[in-house]
Assembly symmetry: C2
DNA sequence: AAAACAAAGTGATATATATCAACAAATGAT
DNA sequence: ATCATTTGTTGATATATATCACTTTGTTTT
């Protein structure tokens, strides 16, 4: 891990409610860290000492359990903030974050972050709104992953990648088949087989890391039906 | 639904960080509502107008999806607060709450609640901590429900009921087999069969609504192994 | 108490999905 | 370029779990 200290170029939407003086304090202590593809930005269970802002690059968020099973929860990229529910609870990380490509991040001391929350009500309120959005997303994830069958779950993953991560019906992904499996709660082999089915039905086209969604309406329908 | 207006006798832990003046404001506007067993306290999708504090009685929290499948997320009882992630986002309920027995609740206007959050930093911070705990619980739920097999999931449910809800190895529950199924993401029939297996193995005893956990260590082991 | 209804329980069968084993293709190292 | 290693792919088989049809038990209603 390279550890180049310099200024952040970008500013997260999240920090909009800070005043100039507060922004100056943040600027004074924050530092940039570069991660190479495959490197772990932080590991589940470790101490939460900084709130991390992604300046550049895509990262995957992993929920790991004691039996070596992993859920790939989501993909984070600029201007996402990586905090995690350890903030103001046990100050530990409850998921791991791994860089999918070379990634540039900005570290903000969590003690400073807490001071900002305590001294700026709109900032606190926007954090509360953010956390509630996270909870809504987790509700949806819980429903999708437990109630839907493989086809529906894989359709969800493909729609998520296309709409949210790559913002295009056509994309080349850094995710392996196993990553896609971990996102969709299925095995490697089942992902491959189901992708093959989708391809045979003319819903998508894919080869290796290349994906193209041909019939989004059908995919949405599969997602809805579960 | 009866709608008897009077004072709340109990005060949630949650409101500890309020000062006297703020408590007075809350007291002035809050009102008590009684629900009978089976009645819906609020329905998923409806407007979030009040934060509800449970004074007495047990309620179930239901996550409903568009295909009529339901997850029973948890059981709430005094001194739990029912707010939900609609607060400061879309001001809608993202789950339904149904009374399992006669339940006494205290309604607090959500606009007043928001004012309190904005005017009292420690209160805001304790809300943030609460939301983060909720997220940690959801992470665990997500991992448990997607990674574990039936035995492990049902073991989790039994441990939850014994430890958290009834706080005794022996309890008579208001939950039906279907409720237990919805908590454990399995069918009615599978719950019955698995309970029978546990009984045959001397891990639990149960008959109708009566449950007794005989070998908690074994149950914990089943839960861990998944 | 009888009837009606809901909830609990059982067995047979179907189905979704994982597992295993083997191989092909792509990628990286020497 | 060749070998080694990982990643992707395929087919055969095993297994967990749902579904369906039915019986039994318990609980409310008249």
């Amino acid at each position: 891990m390279q550890n180049k200290v310099n200024r952040c170029e970008a500013k997260p939407v999240f920090f909009n409610s800070l005043n100039n003086e507060q922004l100056k304090t943040v600027n004074a202590s924050r530092f940039v860290v570069h991660f190479k593809a495959g490197e772990t930005i932080f590991k589940q269970g470790s101490a939460l000492t900084h709130i991390i802002y992604i300046i550049e690059g895509k990262t995957k968020v992993l929920l790991e359990d004691s039996n070596n099973r992993t859920i790939l929860l989501k993909i984070l990229k600029q201007p996402d903030i990586i905090g995690g529910p350890g903030f103001s609870t046990d100050y530990r990380h409850h998921f791991s974050v791994v860089a999918l490509e070379d990634t540039k991040t900005c570290f903000i001391d969590v003690i400073l972050f807490k001071r900002l929350v305590l001294s700026n009500q709109p900032f606190a309120m926007s954090l509360i709104a953010y956390l509630n959005h996270e909870i809504i997303d987790l509700f949806d994830k819980l429903k999708d992953l437990t109630n839907k069958h493989m086809n529906g779950r894989l359709a969800d993953t493909l729609i998520y990648l296309s709409d949210d991560v790559y913002q295009s019906p056509e994309f080349t992904t850094l995710l392996s088949r196993s990553d896609i499996a971990n996102m969709s709660c299925m095995t490697n082999e089942s992902v491959i087989r189901t992708l093959k089915d989708f391809k045979a039905d003319g819903i998508i086209n894919c080869k290796g890391s290349y994906f193209k969604i041909l019939k989004k309406d059908v995919l949405l329908d599969i997602s809805k039906k579960g």
